[in-house]
């Protein structure tokens, strides 16, 4: 409900912020699976790092993400995420609650020796790939919400080069290991591309992300 389309364009899609980056160039060197290395270990440690880093940035702006400011977990006018509760029912939650659930859930998984083994001799469970997919998808939603609802705060705190690079890295990683579902960043297929879907397209044009 903004008067002109000019104003309604999200800040993160505008110059100079869309170009802001801490890490210049392509992420391939740090995304590619190192030769001879176990793919499970590689994905595990990277997801571990993404979680830590995202958690750190959410911690910075969490004081601005309240039940009042963010009554729903949205990432755009037509993009709303729902949480599946214990009864397997889809529920709407305020963003801070939703994100708290996500972060707690991921932290517990990472700390769980059965899901993310760290001791020598312990192997990854057969369910690991599907666990990773779930984790990736939920972290993506947290990124998406921050872009949609809290980008001005990221700017006020001068963190946009950092946050952009972290997200671009996250996207590049998801693409490489087939964790990224385009539906999650674009919204439903019949509505026009919104939010971070457009960011994805822009970064691809700019050569930050592979096709």
């Amino acid at each position: 409900p903004t008067p002109t389309s000019q104003v309604s364009k999200p800040l993160y899609l505008c110059s100079p912020f869309v170009e802001a980056a801490l890490v210049k160039g392509n992420f391939k060197t740090i995304v590619m699976l190192p030769k001879y290395v176990d793919i499970m270990e590689w994905v595990a440690v990277n997801i571990f790092d993404f979680f830590q880093n995202l958690n750190m940035f959410y911690g910075v702006i969490s004081e601005c993400c309240t039940q009042q400011s963010c009554p729903s977990m949205s990432a755009g006018p037509t993009l709303n995420y729902t949480w599946i509760n214990q009864d397997r029912k889809s529920v709407q939650l305020p963003a801070p609650t939703y994100i708290d659930y996500v972060m707690t859930w991921v932290q517990n998984l990472l700390d769980d020796e059965n899901s993310f083994p760290t001791k020598s001799g312990h192997d990854f469970p057969a369910s690991f790939p599907s666990t990773i997919k779930h984790v990736y998808r939920q972290l993506l939603r947290v990124f998406a919400h921050i872009y949609h609802a809290h980008y001005p705060q990221i700017l006020h705190l001068r963190s946009e080069p950092h946050f952009n690079s972290l997200f671009a890295h996250f996207l590049a990683f998801g693409r490489e290991y087939e964790l990224l579902d385009m539906k999650d960043i674009r919204g439903s297929s019949n509505s026009p591309t919104v939010g971070i879907g457009a960011l994805w397209e822009r970064w691809k044009e700019m050569g930050i992300l592979e096709g």
């Binding site: 505008c14 940035f57 601005c64």
Partner: protein, 473 residues
Amino acid sequence: SKTAAKPADYVYFDRTSAGFSDEAVPRAKAAQLKLEHYYKVAVDAAIERNTRRVELERRLQSDSVMTDERKQRQLVQHGKKESTFLRLRRTKLGLEDFRTVKVIGKGAFGEVRLVQKTDTGKIYAMKTLKKEEMLKKDQLAHVRAERDVLAESNSPWVVQLFYSFQDPAYLYLIMEFLPGGDLMTMLIKYDTFSEDVSRFYMAECVLAIEAVHNLGFIHRDIKPDNILIDKDGHIKLSDFGLSTGFHKNHDSNYYQRLLEQANGATAPTPAQAARNSVMVNSINLTMTSKDQIATWKANRRKLAYSTVGTPDYIAPEIFLQQGYGNECDWWSLGAIMFECLVGYPPFCSETTHETYQKIVHWQYHLVIPEDVHLSREAEDLVKRLITSADRRLKIDQIKAHPFFYGVDWEAIRQIDAPFVPRLRSITDTSYFPTDELEQGPEEPAGGDASDANKDLAFLGYTFKRFTISSQAF
């Protein structure tokens, strides 16, 4: 397409921290720094990983004897090792993963314990450093630099660091345990060494100091407490500096202030000061070096534990604030050599202040007691090390000095050491003064929550080494 003109969607955004809590800005800054650190490490690690792989592949390729099957196995093995290292990054080691066997040493910011990793049973030395103390003493730049040296060196002359972690109150360093104790303890036990024995330790120290210099560092605080003895009796330099270097009050300002205070009271002219010292010396001459050794020894360990620390081995140019280079470490070596042969360091005194005075006026105070007999070569080397920085011998001259005649510089670490520790078990601490140390309760149960600033200061402290040994974890 990029043009000089601003794009149509160029936005001017007024940044302000109004509306944020007081913590938001420092927290954001911390997050930025941490992420910068993260990407720097990520890129470096990718490059290093790549180098390791390429090197192995090249080596295997040029090997015409090894079967393809074995080569394949080596590559798989290599991948396993790299994967283990990645896993190590997710492994959270904490205090609870180690069991204290004994407190074996004490430093200005904490203590050193012999610990056992509970799951593997492996033995390590764990050094604890109290963050608050280090912040107070403004040690941080040092901590980082020193940690980096430890972490990067694979030198046999430097104690290896395997792992470090922190909680809000302490930093923890898990390093290799050197069961032979340190040179200070050995000197307390033996009073003096023969020239042959001294030659061995001095030669090894020369190589160790050279190794540190080659890494691009100046140790600045080499002393017998920092010279550790491994299981075969060879030496390694202890963690230079995580707390050493300028720690405690070894900064020049401190000594400057001490000096001013003293001068303010009595204001002796330089001539007077010199005359006084001559008097002190003449008294010393009536004392046999045996008495001197006894007095020195009685105080030695207390001095090592105190937070003021002993300046006994520090070169004068460090105090004088006229700038210094790595020659200062050769002065320290001279002072240690003097102690090995004579029984106490050349400028030892009742008080730190006096020691400092004597070092600055070393020309008047460097005296080899009459009842100690030194060979001409030994005396000459001491005097060419304990001398002004511009006249001090350089590394090549030191190695070529007649005192070291016959030393095989290439192979000294492989020859038998004069004292090889006799150890009954892997946790034998008989070479450490454990009964003099307070065997306190299981230490540090965390601390108060840290604020963003304090955390920031110790950024990047958590470290895990990539070596064969890291498989231990």
